[in-house]
């Protein structure tokens, strides 16, 4: 065993290896910087594997994401990748949707089988999003063998969604994203993502990113910056709420993760700039699919222990 690398965490009620936590933060931060996802759907299970209680892992993770997304947002702001107007609209929608989602979850828990629904939602959403992104970016990579940099997907299909979107009132320009649409559209989509992410208990980055790419038709690089911007505020809210109602935020753990992940996010933002939009998308799609298969596997394989702790104290 290493000598002075262990640190006791009073909230988590366990001690951890500082270097391991730091490394975990760095790896997840790198992904978060590249893809504009909070990384909660990766970090939380890994923390649980390190012996952190699930409730503490989830809450602490959101505290860490506050820091990581601050750093990431800053980096992307400098690169001109944040559409503040769009981000705010999504955020307002997300907060509204999150409130609705929390009520839905309460109702489901009262009825009994919330966990089943949560896991099935996960598998369906991840499979759908990951699969669609994967196929779509493969196709567009084939179409444009010598791709022009940063081409937003402008081939607007005349779908039912497209017609509905065009019929919404008060269209306005979103300069950073180079799109023109009604502010109601991001607001409504924000509500939808908010509901889903509250049900699934995640920041929602991995749903928000595809929504921005495919439904709002924003260019991938602006999507990443704007997503981080929006996640920053979502996680601020969660950190304070969790601290007050559940006492599950472990500040010290978050800080170590943060230093690791902030460094990772900075590197990730630069790395992301070097990759093409389609490459980014296919990588993210792969990641999402891997996580989906992991959850699916856990659903199908016989668990090691046939009992599980219930969240909360």
């Amino acid at each position: 065993m290493t000598i002075p690398m262990e640190l006791y965490l009073p909230i988590a009620g366990n001690s951890v290896n500082i270097a391991a936590v730091f490394g975990l933060g760095g790896a997840v931060g790198l992904l978060s910087g590249i893809f504009g996802v909070g990384g909660g759907f990766l970090m939380t299970p890994l923390l649980i594997m390190m012996g952190i209680p699930p409730t503490v892992a989830a809450a602490t993770d959101s505290n860490q994401i506050v820091g990581a997304s601050t750093s990431g947002t800053l980096a992307h702001l400098r690169l001109g990748n944040v559409d503040v107007k769009m981000g705010l609209l999504l955020l307002i929608g997300g907060v509204l949707g999150g409130t609705v989602g929390v009520e839905i979850i309460k109702m489901l828990r009262a009825m009994g089988n919330a966990d089943f629904l949560i896991n099935i939602t996960y598998v369906l959403m991840l499979g759908l999003v990951g699969g669609y992104m994967f196929v779509e970016s493969l196709q567009s990579m084939h179409k444009a063998k010598a791709p022009a940099r940063d081409v937003p997907e402008k081939h607007v299909k005349s779908s039912a969604f497209g017609r509905m979107a065009a019929s919404l009132p008060w269209p306005m320009d979103f300069k950073r994203s180079g799109v023109r649409m009604s502010p109601l559209l991001p607001l409504l989509l924000g509500v939808m993502v908010g509901v889903l992410s509250a049900i699934m208990g995640v920041g929602g980055g991995f749903i928000m990113v595809p929504v921005m790419v495919y439904l709002l038709r924003m260019p991938m690089h602006v999507v990443v910056g704007t997503s981080l911007f929006q996640i920053l505020f979502t996680c601020l809210n969660v950190t304070v709420m969790q601290s007050i109602s559940n006492h599950t935020v472990d500040f010290v753990l978050a800080l170590i993760l943060l230093v690791g992940s902030s460094l990772g996010a900075q590197v990730g933002a630069k790395l992301g700039k070097k990759l093409h939009g389609d490459q980014l998308k296919i990588l993210l799609a792969t990641l999402v699919l891997v996580v989906m298969f992991k959850i699916l596997y856990e659903l199908i394989a016989r668990p090691d222990v046939l009992l599980a702790s219930v969240g909360g104290h």
Binding site: A75, S243, H247
Partner: protein, 248 residues
């Protein structure tokens, strides 16, 4: 000290009273300080038992009620958390070591081991399948490092004047909550507990962990805001460091 033990045992463990003065022990440290660098510790326990008896040592936490979800299959395919089960009379921690395997110690050995402990746990609803659930429960707690049953860790010394010294180092896991714990020593002979004694051990937070826990539990709103501000400042700070280093 010996008097105190005799009086204690008179009240608590009547059958063992007669031999109580034959069993004595010291536990060190008597208080487990959980500071910033705490990563588990070990208790040094030694004492004397009547000659010819085997020794069982247990560190037991306070009894709790625990709610757990039972996993089951839905549609014959997917594993899901199903119904909630309430386990009562569950010690938070139970670490056992002995001078000989508990199975060789007869009835007393059985009741002092984890299986004996499981026998005292009650499960609500009452019609739950105990024979399946209790081993699973022990497995869950063992995986968390909170339950453990070893043998051979307790070393017996040379007997002298009908008394036999013993000593053991009992490793304590890092996942220890602050609170009161009890070290229990049993002298077992011919399958029965011949004498027993127990001593309290306190685990408490000190230093930085104590400060943080107080802040988190007693000033939760401040804690949350502070955690957020520090996270933002940390993120900004690292961002700025990168800006000055980055060749833009």
């Amino acid at each position: 000290m010996k008097h105190a033990i005799v009086i204690f045992l008179l009240f608590v463990a009547l059958p063992a009273t007669v031999w109580a003065s034959d069993l004595e022990c010291t536990v060190s440290p008597g208080i487990i300080d959980i500071g910033a660098t705490y990563n588990g510790t070990s208790l040094a326990i030694d004492g004397q038992v009547p000659e010819g008896s085997q020794v069982v040592v247990r560190l037991v936490g306070q009894a709790q009620n625990v709610a757990l979800k039972q996993k089951g299959k839905v549609f014959g395919l997917l594993w899901m958390n199903m119904n909630t089960l309430h386990f009562a009379n569950v010690p938070s921690v139970c670490l056992i070591d002995a001078s000989a395997p508990l199975q060789t110690l007869g009835a007393a050995g059985g009741s002092l081991g984890l299986d004996g402990l499981a026998g005292k746990i009650t499960i609500d609803p009452a019609d739950a399948d105990r024979s399946m659930l209790l081993p699973e429960f022990l497995r869950l707690k063992s995986q968390e490092g909170l339950y453990r049953e070893n043998a051979g860790g307790v070393k017996l010394g040379q007997a002298k004047d009908g008394r036999q010294p013993f000593s053991v180092r009992l490793p304590v896991p890092s996942r220890l909550s602050p609170g009161s714990y009890t070290v229990e020593i049993y002298a077992v002979k011919d399958g029965a507990v011949e004498a027993q004694v127990s001593q309290a051990v306190e685990a408490r937070l000190t230093g930085a962990p104590a400060f943080l826990a107080d802040l988190a539990f007693n000033h939760a709103a401040w804690y949350g805001v502070l955690a957020s501000i520090i996270a933002i400042l940390g993120g900004l700070g690292i961002g700025l460091v990168f800006q000055s280093k980055g060749a833009h």
